[in-house]
């Protein structure tokens, strides 16, 4: 009975699949058979090593199974082949123990050399701290004030296709686009210190040949030095299962020239107008926009961006001085939505209406619904609901505490460092007056400010 049921169901499913394949309107980018084009020396070494081992394996495979298939072809009963009776040969057995061992030694030598090079994080020009969160990445440029979070910017409407009638076309960089890029210079040794805030993640940019686990309580190291002339966008994804949205926390690294990087860092993480023009191809991605013009795979980005750098840039004096004065900068590049822990606006003095807070709060609440669900219902036993919860309908003070400082030992992150006062106030207001809650409470940025002290 059970088997019959499975048959019918499976036939139905495969029928659906075949129909879907024929009628498929899914955007398809060019596929690859091998590693992404390496842009660092280490990545090239790894690629070379990978191909060396691959071809050795292919040769072994062909030789061994050449013998086997010859035997299958020739030594068969249907050809009246008489079976021999031999059952051992010490010479042959020693040979096929020793020869593979020698092949292994041949493989191990270059592997060891590359590994030693990979693990040498000394003499770096720049250090960045990378922190994995459920489900975003945090970046801090040590020795400067620049730090920010980087979250997936692919719109939810593209991802959720449960209702086929509402499906929208997928963008070219579906699941490989973020709101803020990690910006690094080419031609310099960048060291990354990698850790995590909640569970284990792994930071990976295939074209750099860098992958390292981000483990809470640990600080791991990796380094990369992107070739000069390979400026552009490089994309990677989290590589260690980190819970529900593991597939939705990509990494985008924007490689710029050393000069551009220095100016960017000096300006507190902003490009000036000229640099924006220079790297414009790369900036398209920072807007949440499905009709992106950057419809290229990684290698192409690198080339086009490199060509786009105008020679005029070279004339600009390099500003190595770290300036915290934002007012002189023409702020064109960065998304206003970007979160910054350095936000020092005097939000406490402004006046806010509940409607303003609710509107703002709805935008910020995308961070909440990642776990607590679009309807605020959570996942029972794993992520608590917002709807009707004791927190969101109980004392305001506790609610603010939880949102700002998190709950230790759970997935609930501390948002005090990730959101500014206005964002925190509005999202808490939003939580208390939506998701089916209707407390009528209003939390003001000044309330948050008071808590910060």
């Amino acid at each position: 009975m059970r088997l019959v049921a499975i048959t019918v169901k499976q036939i139905a499913v495969i029928g659906t699949l075949i129909t879907a394949l024929i009628a498929s309107t899914v955007a398809q980018a060019e596929y690859r058979l091998n590693f992404q084009d390496p842009v660092t020396e280490v990545a090239r070494d790894i690629f070379g090593l990978h191909m060396l081992i691959f071809w050795i394996c292919v040769v072994i495979f062909v030789v061994v199974f050449g013998f086997m298939f010859y035997s299958i072809f020739a030594h068969r009963k249907s050809k009246n082949y008489e079976a021999s009776t031999f059952s051992h040969s010490t010479k042959v057995e020693i040979a096929w123990t020793v020869i593979p061992f020698i092949i292994l030694v041949v493989m191990a030598i270059p592997a060891t050399q590359v590994l030693i090079k990979m693990e040498d994080t000394t003499k770096s020009d720049l250090t960045i701290k990378i922190t994995g969160f459920q489900w975003k990445w945090g970046y801090e440029y040590l020795d400067s004030d620049v730090s920010f979070y980087s979250t997936l910017s692919t719109p939810r409407e593209q991802i959720d296709q449960f209702d086929a009638s509402k499906a929208v076309p997928l963008g070219e960089n579906y699941l490989l686009e973020v709101d803020k890029h990690l910006v690094v210079p080419s031609g310099r040794k960048v060291r990354a210190l990698i850790t995590a805030n909640d569970v284990i993640h792994a930071w990976w940019i295939p074209a750099f040949g860098s992958k390292k686990d981000a483990i809470p309580g640990y600080i791991n190291e990796l380094w990369f030095n992107v070739d000069e002339g390979k400026e552009g966008l490089y994309r990677g994804q989290c590589a260690e299962l980190c819970g529900k949205d593991h597939a939705f926390m990509p990494i985008v690294v924007e490689v710029v020239t050393g000069d551009q990087f220095d100016r960017w860092l000096a300006a507190g993480g902003k490009f000036d107008a000229q640099d924006i023009a220079a790297v414009s191809a790369t900036n398209v991605d920072s807007e949440i926009n499905i009709s992106e013009s950057a419809g290229e795979l990684l290698g192409d980005v690198a080339e086009s961006a490199a060509q786009a750098v105008p020679a005029a840039l070279a004339q600009d004096a390099v500003s190595s001085e770290v300036s915290s004065d934002d007012t002189e900068q023409t702020d064109l590049s960065q998304d206003e939505e970007a979160i910054s822990s350095e936000d020092d606006q005097d939000t406490g003095n402004a006046t806010y209406t509940k409607d303003e807070l609710m509107t703002k709060g709805e935008e910020v609440a995308t961070r909440c619904i990642a776990c607590h669900g679009a309807g605020g219902n959570g996942i029972p036993g794993v992520f608590p609901a917002i709807t009707g919860s004791a927190v969101a309908t109980g004392p305001i003070d506790e609610h603010i505490d939880i949102v700002m400082f998190g709950i230790e030992g759970t997935a609930m992150a501390a948002f005090a460092g990730q959101l500014n006062d206005e964002q925190l106030a509005s999202v808490i207001t939003f939580q208390r007056n939506s998701f089916g809650n209707n407390t009528g409470d209003v939390v003001l940025p000044s309330d948050i400010k008071a808590k910060r002290q």
């Binding site: 899914v26 690859r32 299958i72 009963k77 390292k212």
Partner: protein, 526 residues
């Protein structure tokens, strides 16, 4: 030996109970073996159905059918059920049926414990499967149950831990039974170095099981106390060490993969000589190679976790040790190929499976060698390249070896010949759809698709579609396997005692079907 057979023949249904008493209270190694095999096949279908849910969702980018949390439950449960429910009990089933017949013993040494070790399993897996219905659903942190992600999970994680403890107890008891039987109940004259290869591989597997199942039990117990009793073995919030969990887990986990493949090597070592009409080449080197693999399996665990940030020296040690495993594994492959060499081969279904296993397992072994190369592993790690690799060794290694073993011994078990045409169809469908499913995953992994992803960037679409189509083909083909088994049990051409053309081994000296009691009088081996 024919005396023993004749003797068995006339009293074979003297003490044969029926119904509830026969199946639930059985102490007969053949009946318990049958129960294990049925259980394993059932789990293969349950775990397989979960794989199809995964492949359905991955047919195209975007989320069409299931949300990512349920997707993670599917990948976790698929693996737990296949590893602990399908593959391990499957091999215990073969061990129960064949070890006493191969060593000329009347039964397993500890028959009541044998009954218990089987009957724990349905309860263990009921608990595991019921976890789908608790708040938050089934465990979703991957079969490796890495902390601290498991510390976040709902009560299903606790149910999973209880289930793991139960199946661990079952495995350890099964292993003790195999060791005691093999060491004490061999027929007079059967020295250790005259034992059939399947018995050898299982003896070594049993020692591996006893060595590592308690380690796994310890790891999950520490997880349990971290979750509920405020300890902080692995919880970084209390100063615990998430990497420690991985070391302990893989100290169990690597021998575990050999637990799942060594008995398969044993089965292959019986099938190939039979259909090559030539003795197994290099018997003693086979035994030593198996022992060497078992030893090395204890010192390579950290190759599963090169990216956690180990010291350079550690990475080099685990790289070299891992590469070394390919030497004894290579010896085995060369021995099988040389056994075929200048034989007089025929290609009945079991032989097709054996050749398929040697070919495809070696492919998986070579991708394993690539994975051993640490710098390259940094790129392969946690991608579909790894998924492809371990399905080549686990499905086309372990599972296909069990399928081959089933066709090989089914006439002995049932007394009927299976339908050869259907058997060959099953082999070709399985082998082809398996490759359609998993070969493209190598490309996906190299191009950069991480594993355990509910959704993926669009450049991975085509190969995922191939993979999904292959998976459904592979799943449906297994219904043919069930049909062949059921129809062979019900009837078919009568099998002779030897079944095949002059096969070697005591199991072929008893009639087909093997009577309820065999070898009441031990045979004498010259």
């Amino acid at each position: 030996m024919s005396d023993a057979a004749a003797h068995d023949d006339h009293d074979h249904d003297h003490h044969m109970p029926s119904g509830f008493q026969r199946w639930f209270m059985s102490t007969n190694h053949k009946d318990i073996g049958t129960l294990y095999l049925i259980f394993s096949l059932t789990m293969l279908f349950i775990g397989g159905a979960m794989a199809l849910v995964i492949r359905l969702e991955l047919f195209q980018p975007g989320l069409q059918f299931i949300d990512p949390h349920f997707f993670n439950q599917m990948t976790t449960m698929h693996a737990l059920i296949m590893v602990f429910g399908a593959v391990m009990p499957g091999f215990v089933g073969f061990a129960n049926w064949m070890i006493p017949l191969m060593v000329g013993a009347p039964d397993m040494a500890l028959p009541r414990m044998n009954n218990w070790s089987f009957w724990i399993l349905p309860f263990a897996f009921s608990i595991l499967l019921l976890s789908f219905f608790v708040p938050g659903g089934a465990p979703a942190a991957g079969w490796t149950l890495y902390a601290p992600l498991t510390i976040q999970g709902g009560m299903s994680v606790d149910m999973g831990i209880v289930a793991i403890h139960m199946m661990g107890i079952s495995s350890i008891m099964g292993a003790i039974n195999v060791i005691v039987t093999v060491l004490n109940m061999r027929a007079p004259g059967m020295t250790l170095m005259k034992m059939p290869m399947f018995v050898w591989t299982w003896l070594i597997t049993a020692f591996l099981l006893i060595a590592v199942m308690p380690v796994f039990a310890g790891a999950v117990t520490m997880l349990l106390t971290d979750r509920h009793f405020g300890t902080a073995f692995f919880n970084p919030a209390g100063g615990g060490d998430p990497v420690l969990y991985q070391h302990i887990f893989w100290f169990f986990g690597h021998p575990e993969v050999y637990i799942m493949i060594l008995p398969a090597f044993g089965i292959i070592s019986h099938i190939i000589p039979t259909f090559s009409r030539k003795p197994l080449f290099g018997y003693s080197s086979m035994v030593f190679a198996t022992g060497a693999i078992a030893f090395l399996s204890f010192i390579v665990w950290a190759h599963h976790m090169f990216t956690v940030g180990m010291p350079l020296q550690g990475e080099l040690f685990f790289m070299y040790a891992t590469m070394l495993i390919s030497v004894p594994t290579g010896v085995k492959v060369f021995n099988w190929v040389t056994t075929m060499w200048r034989g007089s081969m025929t290609f009945e279904t079991p032989m097709l499976y054996a050749i398929g296993v040697v070919f495809l397992f070696t492919l998986g072994g070579l991708s394993g060698l690539m994975l051993a190369i640490t710098p390259a592993d940094f790129q392969y790690h946690d991608t579909y390249f790894v998924v492809a690799h371990f399905h080549y060794v686990l499905f086309s290694g372990a599972v296909m070896a069990m399928m081959g073993g089933t066709f090989f011994w089914l006439p002995k078990w049932t007394g009927h010949m299976y339908n050869e045409t259907l058997g060959k169809w099953h082999f070709w469908l399985t082998a082809i759809f398996f490759n359609v499913t998993f070969f493209p995953q190598h490309f996906l992994g190299l191009a950069g698709m991480p594993r355990r992803y509910a959704d993926y960037p669009i450049q991975f679409t085509e190969f995922n579609q191939w993979s999904s189509i292959g998976a459904f083909g592979l799943g449906i083909s297994q219904l043919l396997f069930v049909y062949i088994i059921v129809s062979t049990v019900r009837g078919g051409k009568k099998a002779t005692a030897e079944v095949w053309d002059n096969p070697e081994g005591l199991e072929w000296t008893v009639p087909s079907p093997a009577p309820f009691h065999t070898f009441d009088e031990p045979p004498v081996i010259k």
